[in-house]
Amino acid sequence: MRSRLRRAAAFAAVAIVFATVGALAQKKYDTGATDTEIKIGNIMPYSGPASAYGVIGKTEQAYFNKINAEGGINGRKINFISYDDAYSPPKAVEQARKLVESDGVLLIFNSLGTPSNSAIEKYMNTKQVPQLFVASGASKWNDPKDFPWTMGWQPSYQKEAHIYAKYILKEKPVGKIGVLYQNDDFGKDYVKGLKEALGEKAAAMIVAEESYETEQPSVDDQIVKLKLAGADVFVSITTPKFAAQAIKKLAELDWHPLHFLSNVSTSIGGVIEPAGYENAQGILSANYAKETADPQWDDDPGMKNFLAFLQRYDSGANKLDGSVIYGYGAAQTLVQVLKMCGDDLTRANVMKQAESLKDFETDTLLPGIKINTSPTDFAPINQLRMMRFKGRKWELFGDIISGELGR
């Protein structure tokens, strides 16, 4: 008797287990995902004032071509649909709506620019479509409580500024700081972070702040003013063209302050080389990714993967352009998230996997820097390492730092 009951119970248990597993193994899709395809949307400035960043979209397209050539993600090919917004927020809204409502994408990935992303944030969250790995360093993308469908990727500008401020407080506590910043969200965010981390000393230490607009041909005038204000620390919150102009002008003026350079302009090929290697000695910055021009990564397997990818799928790309490495890293992160989704390609699950990244390393992150997210931490990359330009390359120094205030 008992054994028959036991057998029945065992049988029932097995049946239940099978049923559950069967249910779990069921494929689940939202718009944009099918058995054979995952549609991914993207918005980039391919024309207009920020067109230099369009190369990120091109790199990502090439990377997804590689993934598709290697069999896709869990057997599904990636269909990458990328539109131009010319860095104009109204156009970004139009393109986002087109991607979601007309093209039916599963998610929008790595769309670029703080204004454009700010414009579509509410829409994406109302429609419950993931706005994943936003290509902007504004700190507002780490707000899972109010915007659970929006997540950033790179370390925020404010965090980076905290690191510089802490360094200044430690190494040059009586320094006089002159700041050159681009008069937009990028520049202003940095300045905010800098002042926040300097605390009460900010007012005393910052002797001059000069802004510039991207329409201006050159920033030479501003540099002259900063020098004349007596600064001996120079914080350059500039995009590549103006960063190079600043480096060159500093040399011409024979002015050698402690020079901090924003991470967006550390590309050796894009900034340092045109400005002149000899003029860039001693510049400080911070980074989270490897530099192609740095010989110390010549034998690094991650860098080798990257270079092999370029050769095979994106041979026209300028491998010294920081944007190319950026696109590669971001695309790799997305592929990881999609792989983790398995057969459950609902938007909710995409966000769930995106907020469960644990110690994920891409080919291009600096060793020791890992991607970590959680339901309350929507900032995947949170760490940086400081570096100093010496000779013809950036020399990393110090520990890996996180940009938190207080430490």
Binding site: S88, E101, S102, A119, K122, K140
Partner: protein, 340 residues
């Protein structure tokens, strides 16, 4: 570089903007009714996204219409409409988000405010014409994004981050999507402004505008108060552009300084030229051009989208140097031939 003065015959200086006969300023009744029917019925048949694009078309069409009144009507060249558009957009955004004003109420407020701004700007502009006026309006357009970024205005404008605008729901519990409601709301306002503009241009003021456009000195000699009418034209144009800006802000649900750069002013100008300077219905054709042709150019070639756009633009201006109005005239003639 001698001290001798240049004497220029009138054709050179005066005819910067060609005259458009009053009759030809609008569509015939039959065509108008067909277009109206299409505008009213299409949203019931298409997806929300297309409705959104149609609403954008109406908004930009309004802005181009305003420019048509200013340039085609009174002969004053303006590259600065984006500034008035921005003022209108921000007025609505700030009133809606910071002071909880109902969205419909913000429209007349923004229209009046922009009228005042335009009227005031028209004053110093009186002494300028042609390329000098172009430069002055250009200066206004470049100044606007920078003014919007000013630190001390940040508590209201949101600074470089801009403001997110809440989209209104259909009132009275109507079973309509937000997009559809917004479309019909915009349509009603557009039609109203269009009819008022046609009326304005047919009225005494309109005749005054056109006399100033055709020959300012003669107009003045005939007793037209040139100063008043020129500034009035600026004011009206700015007011309508402001209303367009407000609607634009509500439709896009976002305002930021980067949304209102000189690129917008140039696009509105192109819209006016493609539509036909001075031909009010053409404003909407021009708006369609500036919204959809860049998308077409992008689908042809992402890397060369600007070049494709330029080529398409050249194509249009070679075929029809006088814009869509030329197409309309030609088709009218064809229809006339058929009737015989």
């Amino acid at each position: 570089m001698s001290a001798a003065e240049d004497v220029v015959p009138t054709e050179q200086e005066g005819q910067a903007v060609e005259a458009v006969p009053k009759r030809a300023m609008t569509l015939g009744t039959g065509t108008s009714l067909i277009v109206l029917a299409a505008l009213i019925l299409t949203p019931l048949l298409v997806k929300n996204f297309v409705i959104f694009q149609m609403t954008q078309l109406l908004v930009y069409g309004l802005a181009v219409l305003a420019l048509n009144i200013l340039t085609g009507g009174s002969g004053q060249f303006s590259l600065g409409q984006s500034a008035f558009y921005a003022v209108g957009a921000y007025t609505s955004a700030v009133l809606m988000e910071q002071y909880n004003v109902n969205y419909a109420l913000t429209l007349p407020i923004s229209g009046l405010l922009c009228f005042a701004v335009g009227f005031l700007f028209g004053q110093p502009a009186l002494r300028l014409s042609g390329v000098y006026l172009a430069l002055a309006t250009f200066a206004l357009a470049t100044a606007m994004p920078q003014l919007l970024k000013l630190n001390f205005l940040e508590p209201w404008t949101g600074g470089v981050q801009g403001l997110v605008v809440t989209k209104p729901d259909a009132p009275f519990g109507l079973h309509m999507s937000q997009d559809m409601w917004l479309y019909y709301f915009t349509l009603v306002i557009t039609i109203a402004i269009y009819l008022l503009s046609v009326n304005l241009l047919r009225s005494r003021s309109g005749r005054a505008f056109m006399s100033i456009r055709d020959n300012e000195i003669a107009a003045s000699a005939m007793g037209v108060n040139v100063a008043l009418y020129k500034t009035l034209a600026f004011g009206v144009s700015a007011g309508i552009t402001g209303v367009a800006g407000s609607l634009g802000a509500i439709v896009v649900q976002f305002v930021a300084p980067d949304s209102f750069t000189i690129t917008l002013a140039i696009q509105l100008f192109l819209g006016m030229v493609v539509g036909g300077v001075g031909w009010l219905p053409g404003s909407f054709v021009g708006a369609a051009f500036i919204i959809f042709v860049p998308n077409i150019a992008e689908s042809v070639s992402k890397g060369l989208s600007g070049a494709v756009f330029g080529v398409l633009l050249f194509f249009v201006i070679y075929l029809v140097p006088h814009g869509a109005r030329q197409v309309a005239i030609v088709s009218q003639q064809l229809v006339g031939k058929f009737k015989k």
